[in-house]
Symmetry: C2
Subunit: 299 residues, 2 copies
């Protein structure tokens, strides 16, 4: 889907390097690059860190932008907080993926949290964060954090523990951990939740992944009686829109989050707030159709 071209612009006075990603070879995004900070490969994927003029430092895995310093807070706040405020006092959290530390940073903002387990398959991603993104790495030094380098599916299946929230921070259904998109994995997630717990799954850009999303939403509905999609707007994301599915045994909103708890949380966020906690779940008709819910979004 995406590719990286480093080609100089046709300007002899200001020849620059540009990152160029394309969707289906038809629509592209370009980022002007200051310089490359890291270009290496792990056993799982190519890992690059570049410094850009418009979006700060950027992490690329397998040639795809995973996050930019400019807007990583939007993604990380929006994948973490809705699933945590659905629980009256979440104590134990599991993040599948999340080796970049962004989701971890947000989870640790909830004072009830006692233990967060991050299960990342690729230790070289976390090494790169440690070197180039100090604002993201801090959570790994928190005594509440447990960092495990393993396949998330296998680890969760074997761990014999339950969690108040499970966050599946897998950036790409075609990425290194194919098992994270399977029905087996969804079942393992379901059986690893406490009764009042919820899980959140990244379902990516609704415009680009219609067919994949339909299948994922159908498979998740078999496991979870409650499944609710929501959206966040992300400038650096393909077509600017990112979707998530919040799932659990019981309905979830911000019902378990009192006004004081929400206000304390919002003070520490830049995108997330009480309004967006409600508004993110109110979908345009075209997106509601993909998730096979009625346009009125009635519960």
């Amino acid at each position: 889907m995406t590719s990286v071209l480093h080609s100089p612009l046709p300007n002899s006075l200001d020849s620059s390097y540009w990152y160029h990603s394309q969707i289906d070879g038809c629509i592209g995004t370009t980022l002007k690059i200051k310089h490359t900070l890291l270009c290496t490969a792990s056993p799982f994927q190519k890992i690059e860190v570049v410094d850009t003029y418009g979006l700060g430092r950027v992490l690329l895995l397998a040639g795809t932008v995973v996050f930019t310093e400019k807007d990583e807070h939007i993604y990380n706040e929006m994948i973490a907080h809705p699933v945590l405020v659905a629980h009256p006092a979440p104590r134990t959290i599991c993040i599948i993926g999340g080796g970049d530390g962004g989701v971890l940073r947000e989870v640790l903002k909830h004072p009830s949290v006692e233990k967060v387990t991050v299960v990342e398959i690729d230790s070289m991603v976390t090494d790169a964060i440690n070197r180039f993104f100090p604002n993201l790495y801090g959570g790994f030094r928190d005594p509440r954090t447990e960092l495990v380098f393993e396949d998330g599916y296998q680890w969760l299946k074997d761990c014999q523990r339950t969690f108040d929230a499970i966050i599946v921070d897998s950036y790409d259904p075609g990425g290194p951990i194919q098992s994270l998109g399977t029905e087996d994995f969804f079942e393992v997630v379901g059986s690893s939740l406490t009764d009042a717990g919820h899980a959140v799954f990244l379902t990516s850009s609704p415009e680009l992944n219609r067919d994949k999303i339909r299948v994922t939403a159908r498979d998740l509905a078999v496991i979870f009686p409650f499944c609710k999609p929501y959206l966040a707007t992300l400038p650096s994301f393909p077509l600017g829109l990112c979707s998530f599915l919040l799932c659990g045994k019981t309905p979830a909103g911000a019902g378990e989050c009192d006004r004081e708890r929400m206000e304390r949380l919002t003070e520490r966020c830049r995108y997330y707030c009480a309004a967006i906690q409600q508004g993110a779940f109110l979908l345009p008709r075209s997106v509601a159709d993909i998730f096979n819910i009625t346009a009125s979004n009635d519960e």
Copy 2:
């Protein structure tokens, strides 16, 4: 802010033309072009129509994408319907700009509408629509439509009429009609509304126009006791997000729109629906800050 480069990709087997727009020379969007259908200039601006691989036909004015066939419905539905459902039965509507016919098409979906006046400064834009966008031109043949080619500010000031809704469909604050961003114009709009009427102003991408939006929001608040911002996600828009300000003498939501009216309207829309009519006004904290409203979005 934007520029058009038609430069072939460095691929000898598939040399193609690309449209390339840049934000502050740092972040760009590229569109692969099939061919140019129109390249001309009016007394006001350069006018281009190109056929693209990913987004269908695209109208460019002064080198900037005004709309694409793929997502024009999002913009046009979202600028038209919130201001119209704020009125129990809007009869007279004025569209300032709107020579592309998209907003007009949406306005005519409201059965109470008796007369729509479109005030477009550039007749060559409407000519281009007639030739290349049949899906957008239809509204100009409707007997309820009055099409005037004049400066919107001057026309509205002189017309001595009032409207149940005024839609300011001006695509760019730096465009040919500079007068549409002034306090004088806002005053003229205010005095041209019926008592229960509302106006909507395009305030463009919140990330890119922070300072301009702050000034516009402040100036509009002087004229209108009620000012409420809302958002739509537009893949072809810079950074994917478009903001609007709904203004009037009285508060507006969908309060005047009963369930049956909303359902009939939603059936004829692709993006707009009851959920998004509510959700579009629930803003992320960072956007609420730009419009100088509290993060809780309390009214």
